[in-house]
Amino acid sequence: MAELQTSDVKRIVEVLLFGAEEPLNLAALMSTFEGEYEDPSVFRGVLIDALDELENDFKTRGVELVQVASGFRVQVDSEHSEWVHKLWKRNPPRYSRALLETLTMIAYQQPITRSEIDEVRGVTTTGSILRRLLDRGWVRELGRKQVPGLPILYGTTRAFLDYFNLRSIGDLPPYANGDASLVQPETLDQPQIISSDDAPETTSQNVAD
């Protein structure tokens, strides 16, 4: 395979940072490029240079490259964060059913791991939902479960309680009364409380008009 140019590496690293759902560390980057380089220590230097250059490039673009515990990530810088907040404020996103389910699982079952949530929901909880709940300040990492893989345990925050006017998690309403085990699933199907697209948009916008 043809050796990648340094400029190619830089662009690919940028794409990876933008496309990744979680912070990337050097090891993850190295393994992504496996087979594309001859000398690992040389290539490691190439990667570090690329990250350096990207860090500089980003400064003019409203984003920043930061290093957090688990690696590097790109985020909207603090100067521009207010714009994203304005966007949310003026265009409140509807929470998806998936997000609500994840949140309730965490509230009622904390501490809980991502795979435990997935098991009940029957689907894979994407990192972005958890990150959103973390960003929103309703969910936090409580620690790690002492099982193989040491998965992160999640729980709700004070801000979550405040938002719902609760003094403690014990104040959460009971979720079901009595034994509902004989009820057929059909009758329990909720009307789509918040499904992302139910409400037709009132203004259908496009560039042309």
């Binding site: 207010e82 949310w88 949140l103 699933p185």
Partner: protein
């Protein structure tokens, strides 16, 4: 079109006996000769009877509008027999199509009647052909949909977190009641997921079979069917009892008899019946 006799060549397993019409097959048709495991996978991979028909048609490179429905009917029936031989759960829809094919075949034997009706609406062959065509179109359309680039698989939308600042009231609102409802729903779903497991651990069909046999043994007389169920133990228990009785019937351990129409159904041990 392939001659039917050519199907009857390759032996697969001496256990397999399928009846197609009046013919008893002790060997698998040649074109069905695939390893057992693969066969099960193949049979389970059909989305339904139309899918199976389509598979047969395609396998022989037949034109959907021209192929002989009666020829396909024989092969279809062989698959149906095979599915039941292998105890694959056979959805009712397969049998409906089977009946239709038999009807078409019988009509073919009386061509003059066919000409009399002449109306496509009433001709089951025309109707079935149309349905297969329509299903084929759906299938290819859904294959094209599957090929479209999509998020998670082919596309990666970029969504960056924002620097941590004070995040305040700018978020969507949620009602607490909503969370409760969502969670109740999740719990319900989880219960449904776990039901089999729970049933197996607490009330296994096998254990229930043992109880029922013990009970009938002690009674030494036909026992009313209802008495073998304890409704207060809940739905799972009732189902387990029913499955246990059916399993016992199937293995001829018990006999279930309704002496007269509308009379009470009674259950007894088969050997009790035989010996006394």
């Amino acid at each position: 079109m392939q001659d039917e006799s050519s199907f009857l060549t390759t032996p697969l397993s001496s256990e397999i006996q399928a009846r197609v019409g009046d013919t008893t097959l002790t060997e698998l048709p040649e074109d069905l000769h695939v390893p057992d495991d693969a066969m099960i996978v193949l049979l389970e991979s059909f989305e339904g009877p139309l899918d199976l028909l389509l598979y047969l048609i395609r396998k022989h490179n037949l034109d959907i509008l021209e192929f002989s429905l009666t020829d396909i009917a024989d092969q279809y029936m062989q698959y149906i027999e095979l599915m039941s031989t292998m105890r694959l759960q056979l959805a009712g829809e397969y049998l409906v199509i089977a009946a239709t094919l038999m009807l078409i075949k019988s009509r073919a034997l009386l061509p003059q009647l066919d000409e009399l009706t002449g109306d496509d609406e009433d001709d089951p062959a025309a109707v079935l052909r149309k349905r297969i065509l329509e299903y084929e179109r759906l299938r290819s359309a859904s294959e094209r949909l599957d090929e479209l680039p999509r998020l998670e698989r082919d596309l990666h939308a970029s969504q960056l977190p924002v620097a941590l600042t004070q995040i305040e009231e700018q978020q969507p609102n949620i009602d607490l009641q909503e969370l409760v409802l969502v969670f109740a729903d999740l719990v319900q779903r989880a219960k449904l997921h776990q039901r089999h497991q729970v049933t197996r651990m607490t009330i296994t069909v096998r254990a229930r079979m043992t109880t029922i046999v013990a009970r009938l043994n002690a009674a030494q007389a036909p026992t009313p069917f209802e008495e073998l169920f304890n409704v207060r133990e809940g739905k799972a228990s009732v189902i387990a009892s029913l499955l246990a009785i059916l399993e016992l019937m199937r293995s001829h351990v018990v006999r279930v008899v309704q002496p007269q129409p509308f009379a009470n159904i009674v259950v007894s041990l088969a050997d009790y019946e035989a010996s006394g």
